[in-house]
Symmetry: C2
Subunit: 111 residues, 2 copies
DNA sequence: GTTTCATTATATCTTTTTATATTATATTGA
DNA sequence: TCAATATAATATAAAAAGATATAATGAAAC
């Protein structure tokens, strides 16, 4: 259970601001899709381009945002650059997002 | 483990867009703090104002956003209006955010 | 019962910031 | 020189934040 009672307001606000930074970075469909792919395992840019149908400059720009925020890291192999997750926080969030929004839940009346 | 392999691109993008809607709503320090409080249990506006030191019009405006997005619901008791969580998705996300960003983790070198 | 107070919500601006897409060009490695 | 990726430079739109004022509702005093 979440329990913040007793934590001082400044600390709370500082945590909220840090957390918001990450959430803003996730709040874009392209970036979310990119992270969804990358969180399954290393991906190079052309893989991502093909899987997601995002065209190259946009892709590169959004990957740049993810890099700047420290959510992903890169490894070069010849011409290609491979991306992988660099933030355990982001990985944890992606996991819960996937569970909540992507795992089909049959809707039925209470009984 | 997250595994989206094989899900068709349109479905993926639709899920991403829905998910982004919620993430955008969370991507504001005031709203995040509000949800943090409310996710611990019902709170009336004046409780929130006191706990978070957000002044009234801002508070009311941000609570309005949370209502519009279906993240919280309200109950009136006399002059006061009580807020509580209305979205299990949001609750799940708040939980993981709390675990990742608010639970202190001592940083130490690997050994 | 109507005036008044407390609580909460809305409306309206203003300013600033941020987002997104596009096109072109640069860098790096084979 | 080609293929893969990144950066730059815009243009345009969007929206977010903060302030101020005012409205609506319920309770209570008188």
């Amino acid at each position: 259970m979440i329990t913040t009672t007793g934590i001082d307001p400044e600390t709370m606000r500082a945590s909220a601001t840090r957390t918001c930074g990450m959430l803003k970075t996730l709040s874009n469909p392209d970036r979310l899709l990119l992270l969804c792919q990358i969180s399954q395992g290393e991906r190079c840019v052309s893989d991502l381009e093909e899987a997601l149908e995002i065209h190259q400059p946009t892709l590169s720009q959004q990957l740049g945002v993810l890099r700047d925020e420290g959510l992903v890291s890169t490894r070069r192999d010849g011409k290609r650059i491979f991306y992988s997750m660099a933030s355990k926080e982001a990985l944890a969030v992606m996991q819960v997002l996937f569970d909540q929004f992507c795992v089909a839940k049959p809707k039925r009346a209470k009984r």
